[in-house]
């Protein structure tokens, strides 16, 4: 008798762009926790860090000063020959595996050099076509500035996840990001364009009335564009404490309520992988 279909086959890979147009809205936190949760479900996840900061290395407990050959900058260079410099953090084998390709300050230079390359926006897409990664989920952690590195990420992604903080600054930034997304998809002739998985309110602090109000209003604000609004990821200083130890929250405080906050997103990703 036929077995039920496996969750994912090699033919389907989700490339998830996590991006924002304002800093400090939990992009890296989301990337790490989604990756960990998905790996707990038995899926293999690669995180490609395109950000110029070192929060990915800090949050995952990896060295913040890797040699150039161990960064995504090397992957995007002409010297790359197909050997992806992926490293597994100490917590990266819960069931499936989490592997990380680090970015960091080298990406500033890479971003500038992109301007001289042919097919610059498609460079990562070309790398993944020529040297495919076997992971079912590839997460792109992107800089908070809309520029060349985000064009690169947009061109290769299948899904977008947009964290926002419930503040005027972050919401306005999200508006600009969505406008950039629409115009860039058209300019780069992305067909089909990556799908917006949703906007997720992060660092939600129930104590602040402005955040409570915006939380109520957000689905309505996004409804006009048919964009899904996820339940919030709550603010907790335990996230900071976990990042200090370089591990995800479930390993730092197993029964912390915030651990559950990532599930709706992960369930959608799993459903989407299963669809195929």
């Amino acid at each position: 008798m036929a077995k039920p279909a496996p969750i994912a086959t090699k033919t389907k890979q989700i490339v998830l762009w996590i991006g924002a147009n304002s800093g400090g809205v939990s992009k890296t936190t989301l990337a790490i926790h989604i990756a960990y949760e998905m790996a707990c479900h038995g899926l293999d996840v690669a995180i490609l860090d395109l950000d110029t900061n070192v929060s990915m290395a800090q949050f995952s407990g990896l060295s913040k000063n890797p040699p150039w050959e161990e960064t995504i900058s090397y992957v995007l260079s002409d010297e790359f020959s197909g050997n992806w410099p992926l490293v597994t953090p100490s917590w990266g084998n819960p069931n499936g595996k989490v592997e990380i390709c680090r970015g960091g300050p080298v990406m500033v230079q890479t971003g500038l050099e992109l301007a001289l390359k042919k097919r610059r926006e498609y460079i990562l897409q070309d790398r993944l076509t020529d040297f495919p990664l076997p992971h079912q989920l590839v997460i792109l952690d992107c800089p908070a500035t809309l520029g060349s590195l985000n064009d690169v990420a947009l061109a290769v992604s299948t899904h977008l996840l947009i964290p926002v903080e419930l503040t005027p600054k972050s919401l306005s930034g999200c508006d600009a990001l969505l406008t950039w997304y629409r115009l860039s998809c058209k300019e780069m002739r992305l067909n089909p364009p990556p799908q917006i998985l949703g906007v997720v309110p992060a660092r939600y602090n129930q104590e602040e009335s402005i955040q409570r109000d915006y939380l109520k209003l957000l689905p309505q604000m996004l409804g006009g564009q048919n964009i899904h609004c996820y339940p919030f990821i709550r603010y907790s200083r335990e996230f900071i404490n976990a990042s200090e130890r370089g591990i995800p929250l479930p390993l730092h405080r197993k029964s912390h309520k915030a651990c559950q906050d990532f599930l709706p997103i992960c369930n959608d990703l799993i459903a989407s992988l299963r669809d195929n």
């Binding site: 919401l171 629409r182 109000d213 564009q225």
Partner: protein, 324 residues
């Protein structure tokens, strides 16, 4: 909420971009469809004179029989906005009437937007076509409505077929079922039938959004919905998705009640589903009827290997029971 109402207008820029995008898509769609119609007219009225001019918008009259009942006001507003921005695209199709008037053949939606955008003149193409072709073209254009629900679409296609085949809608339906049966049983059609089948094929190719076979199996049954539900759909009182749920309620009284409540209170789809589930049939079905129902639903369930395995075990038990 706090001391003052919060400003929630953070997404106006991306909202505008999205709206513009969908308006442009709609224009592209209309242009593509226009091309399709051009080809059709090209093949069917090639010998007739075509005439492209600009006429005062007030000289265009709509065919009262072909006027659409309902347009989605939001879609219409988007098209109007796009027209203000980009001008009038394409040409309306008209037929010449006496006294320098023109009867609209295709382009009702664009005409409405042109009026709303206060255009005084619009480009038209004057087609020298007979009543019959005018109706076919109108129907075809109607079928491209973005807000057409499956029942309206089904009725439209049937009307179009009845025009092209020169027979009543009832005759079209029986012809379609014959076509399906003959295909499935691999029978030879008569000469008359094969001509009709060729026309039907051609119509579905022109419409291009549904095959004739799935039209027969998926769409024709929709017309067996209870009349009050068809009426409510026709008048745009309920959404199609809700209608399909309500139609499944067998008993008339609770069905009417649910329909009324849905319209009056604008119940959500999940509320409608819940209410429909709560309605129990007034007569308890016999064991035999229940068996029939289960067996009817069985083939779909058997596709799930886990269920198939369980069903097999039950089947063995039933066999034993019968043999006792």
């Amino acid at each position: 909420m706090g001391k003052a109402t919060r400003n929630a207008d953070f997404f106006s820029l991306s909202q505008q971009t999205a709206e513009l995008e969908s308006a442009q898509e709609r224009i592209a769609e209309l242009e593509a469809f226009n091309q399709q119609l051009q080809t059709l007219v090209g093949t069917q009225v090639s010998s007739h004179a075509k005439n492209a001019i600009t006429v005062p918008i007030t000289s265009i009259v709509r065919d009262p029989e072909q006027a659409r009942r309902w347009f989605d006001p939001e879609e219409q507003a988007k098209l109007t906005a796009a027209m203000r921005e980009f001008g009038f695209r394409g040409r309306l199709w008209v037929r010449a009437l006496p006294d320098s008037k023109y009867q609209l053949v295709a382009g009702e939606r664009r005409l409405r937007s042109a009026l709303a955008a206060e255009f005084t003149e619009v480009p038209v193409e004057i087609l020298d076509i007979d009543d019959d072709l005018a109706i076919v073209l109108s129907l075809l254009e109607n079928l491209q409505r973005v807000d057409l629900n499956p029942i309206e679409e089904t009725q439209g296609i049937l009307r179009l077929l009845s025009r092209r085949l020169q027979c009543s809608v009832a005759e079209v339906t029986s012809l379609l079922y014959r076509m399906k049966n003959q295909q499935q049983r691999q029978e030879e059609p008569t000469l008359e039938e094969s001509q009709a089948f060729a026309t039907i094929n051609q119509v579905f190719e022109t419409i291009g959004r549904i095959s004739w076979m799935s039209f027969i199996t998926m769409r024709l049954p929709l017309l067996n919905f209870p009349q009050e539900i068809l009426d409510a759909l026709q008048q745009g009182q309920i959404e199609y998705t809700k209608a399909t749920i309500i139609a499944r309620v067998k008993d008339e009284q609770p069905r009417l009640q649910l329909l009324q409540d849905t319209i009056a209170n604008n119940l959500s789809l999940s509320e409608v589903k819940l209410r429909a589930k709560e309605i129990k049939p007034s007569r308890i079905p016999s064991l035999q009827e229940e068996f029939k129902q289960v067996i009817k639903a069985l083939p779909k369930a058997l596709k799930d290997p886990r269920k198939a395995k369980a069903a097999q075990a039950l089947l063995e038990k039933l066999k034993q029971l019968v043999d006792e």
